[in-house]
Symmetry: C2
Subunit: 350 residues, 2 copies
C-alpha cells in the first residue's frame, strides 16, 4: 500500500521542476513517517535534476536536507514518537552489516547506501523520492533528532552542508590552537567557518573574492586570505594545520598545498571532477596529504546536530516557496545566495 | 685549509661528466673524513647534472649514495672512529634547531637542509660536492653506520633509494596482514618490494610491463598486477591498505586510487612534476588520501640500515667504473638497469 502525495520534481534533464503526484512508501515496522516542514536546496539537487552525473531516473524529486515532525511510527520504532522534531539527510538506508556500516560510516556502505532520492529503495525496488514533497517515510536508523532550541528552518541545511564540513574538521581533529583555512565561501564554506571557529581554531577564510571578507568575518573568520594576492599567500606559506577545500568546481590546488605545514592535510569536499594537475613535488616536500571526505555517518551527523544545539549554530538561509524552485536553481548556479535556500513546505501543502 | 682531490663532475648542463680536481673541505671539530669506496647512481644525479631543475651550480659533482671508511675524525667526534664503515646520503647538514630537526626530520629543515651536492655549505659558503669523488668530509650527525654483515657495494643505494621507500612504509605503519602495492619497478620500486615483503605485508607489484613479473616475484612480490589489464584492476578494487607510488614521471593516478580501501593512502615518492588531473571524486568517495614523502631523517635512515642488517636486505646493483658514468646516465634514462648502478671508486683513485 502506498499513499499519493504532492511533490515537486522533474520529468527530464532539460525540464523545469513542476508539481507532481508521487507515491509515498507505506509505514513498515521500523519506519518513521514525517511531515516535511522545510527542505534545503543543495547544489547536488541541480546536478541530479539536470542529469549532470548521467544517472538520473525520472521522475526525479530532489531534496536531502529535510526537517519535519513525526506523524506516525511503526510498531518496532523505539527512538522516535509522534510529534518529535526530526531530520533526514542524504541517506535513507544502507546494508547495516558491512565493515563501513559497522564503523558508523554508512555513507561508504560497501553494498552502496540508499540515497534519499534517485536511488533504489532496498525493500520496494522503486526509486526513492526526496524532500521536495509533503511527507517522507524513512527507517528509524536514518532519522535524526533535531535540537529544539535552534531555529527550525535554519537547521535543514545542516543535514548536508553541515555534516559535509563538520565531519572532516572532526575526523582530522581540528582544535583550539590550530590554524585552519576554509577555501571557498558558499553553502559549504560558510558552515566550515562557523564550525572551525567554534572548535577553537584560528579560522582563515581563503577566497578569490575580496568582497566576501566582511561576511566571512561576521560568520566567524579571524582573518581573510585573498588567494590571488601572491604576497599574502607567501606570508601564509607552511602555516596551516588543516585546509578544508569547499570549491565545487575544477581548480588549481597547488597554491593551497604551499600553505600547509609539514604533515598537514587539505581535505576536498566540493569538487568531484578532474582538478588541474597537481605537482607531485608539492606533497613530497613536507610529506603533505590531499584527502577527500563525503558527508558523514548517521552517528556523526547526530553528534553534529547536538554540537549545533549546544553552540547555537545554524545555517544562514534564504526562505523560498516550493513554486520558486526554478529561479532558486538558477541563482544557486550563479552563486547568488547567502548561503542556502530553504523551501517552506507549507507552500506546497496549501 | 682545503685539500685538492679527484672527482667526476660536469661544467655545464650539456657537457659530459669528466674528471675534475675539486677542493675538499678540511676537517673541523665535529667532522668525519671518509675515503669513498662506492657511490650509487641516482636518477636525481642526472637531473642535477643536466640542470633539469634549473638550480645547478657548476662545476657540479653528483652522488648521494655514499659508502666509505673513516680515515680521520675531528676532536669533538664521539660516535665514529678511524676504520669505521660509514655512509652518507642526500643530506650533509641542517639547522639542528627548528621543529623539523627536533623531530628528526632534517629533510624538512625549516631553514633548508644542506644537500650532499649542489648546495651551499653552511660553514664555508662554498658549494657542496657529492660522492663521485675519492673523499668527503661530513659533520658526524649526518654520517651513518653501515652494518658490517652486508655486501658493502650493494649497500650504497640504501642511502637514497632505500630510505625513500622505507620511510613511507614505516611512517604509514605497514605490517603483517596489510595488502601493499608498489607501483613501478625501478631503483625505488625494487627496494619497496623488498621492504614491504620483509615487513610482512602481502606485497603486490603494480606495473604496466608483464615482462617485469618474474623479477618482481624474485624480489619478494607475492603477486603482480598489470595496471593495463582492466579486469585485473577491477578485481583488486578497494582492496589495498597502502600504495607506494614510485613512478618517476607524469602519469595518471586515478586508476590506482580506485585500488585503495576506505581511509587508505597512496604515497608518492617519484614524480615531482605535474601529474595527470586527479578526479576529486576518487578521494571523496572512501575518504582516501594522496600523500608525498621525501627520503627520511637521519635517525630513521640509521634505523633502516639496522633493519637491512638484521634482515639481510641490500640493493640489486650493477657495478661500473667512474669512467663509465656517461654511458650509465644514458642507460638510467632508458630505464636499462637492474636496479641501480654503483660506482667502484677504486677506478678513480688509480
Amino acid at each position: 500500500m502506498t499513499k499519493t502525495i504532492k511533490a515537486f520534481g522533474t520529468e527530464a534533464a532539460d525540464a523545469k521542476l513542476e508539481q507532481l503526484d508521487i507515491e509515498r512508501r507505506d509505514l513498515k515496522e521500523n519506519d518513521v513517517q514525517i511531515d516535511i516542514l522545510y527542505c534545503g536546496v543543495c547544489h547536488s539537487d541541480i546536478h541530479a535534476a539536470r542529469n549532470d552525473w548521467g544517472n538520473a531516473k525520472y521522475p526525479l524529486v530532489p531534496g536531502h536536507e529535510i526537517v519535519g515532525k513525526v506523524t506516525a511510527v511503526g510498531d518496532g520504532v523505539s527512538k522516535f514518537s509522534k510529534g518529535d522534531l526530526v531530520g533526514v539527510g542524504c541517506m535513507v538506508d544502507s546494508c547495516q552489516t558491512c565493515s563501513a556500516c559497522d564503523e558508523d560510516l554508512e555513507q561508504f556502505c560497501e553494498k552502496g547506501m540508499t540515497a534519499t532520492y534517485n536511488s533504489k529503495d532496498k525493500d520496494l525496488g522503486k526509486t526513492t523520492y526526496g524532500g521536495y514533497s509533503t511527507e517522507i517515510v524513512v527507517t528509524e536508523n536514518f532519522v535524526l533528532r533535531i535540537p529544539e532550541n535552534l531555529e527550525t528552518k535554519a537547521v535543514a541545511p545542516l543535514l548536508c552542508a553541515g555534516i559535509t564540513t563538520f565531519s572532516p574538521l572532526n575526523h582530522w581533529n581540528v582544535k583550539k590552537g590550530d590554524k585552519v583555512g576554509v577555501i571557498g565561501l558558499g553553502g559549504l564554506g560558510h558552515m566550515g567557518i562557523k564550525f572551525a571557529h567554534v572548535m577553537g581554531a584560528e579560522t582563515v577564510m581563503i577566497t578569490t573574492s575580496p568582497g566576501k571578507a566582511e561576511d566571512a568575518k561576521r560568520l566567524g573568520a579571524d582573518s581573510v586570505l585573498i588567494s590571488k594576492d601572491e604576497d599574502a599567500m607567501k606570508e601564509h606559506t607552511g602555516s596551516f594545520d588543516f585546509l578544508l577545500n569547499t570549491v565545487p568546481v575544477k581548480h588549481d590546488i597547488n597554491p593551497y598545498l604551499q600553505l600547509l605545514k609539514r604533515d598537514a592535510t587539505m581535505c576536498m569536499v566540493g569538487a568531484i571532477e578532474p582538478l588541474e594537475p597537481m605537482n607531485g613535488g608539492n606533497i613530497i616536500m613536507g610529506r603533505k596529504r590531499v584527502a577527500g571526505s563525503l558527508i558523514g555517518g548517521i552517528k556523526e551527523t547526530q553528534e553534529m546536530l547536538h554540537f549545533c544545539g549546544e553552540n547555537n549554530i545554524t545555517c544562514d538561509v534564504e526562505m523560498i516557496k516550493m513554486q520558486e524552485i526554478n529561479d532558486a536553481f538558477d541563482r544557486v548556479t550563479d552563486n547568488d545566495v547567502k548561503y542556502r535556500f530553504v523551501i517552506d513546505m507549507e507552500s506546497l501543502k496549501n
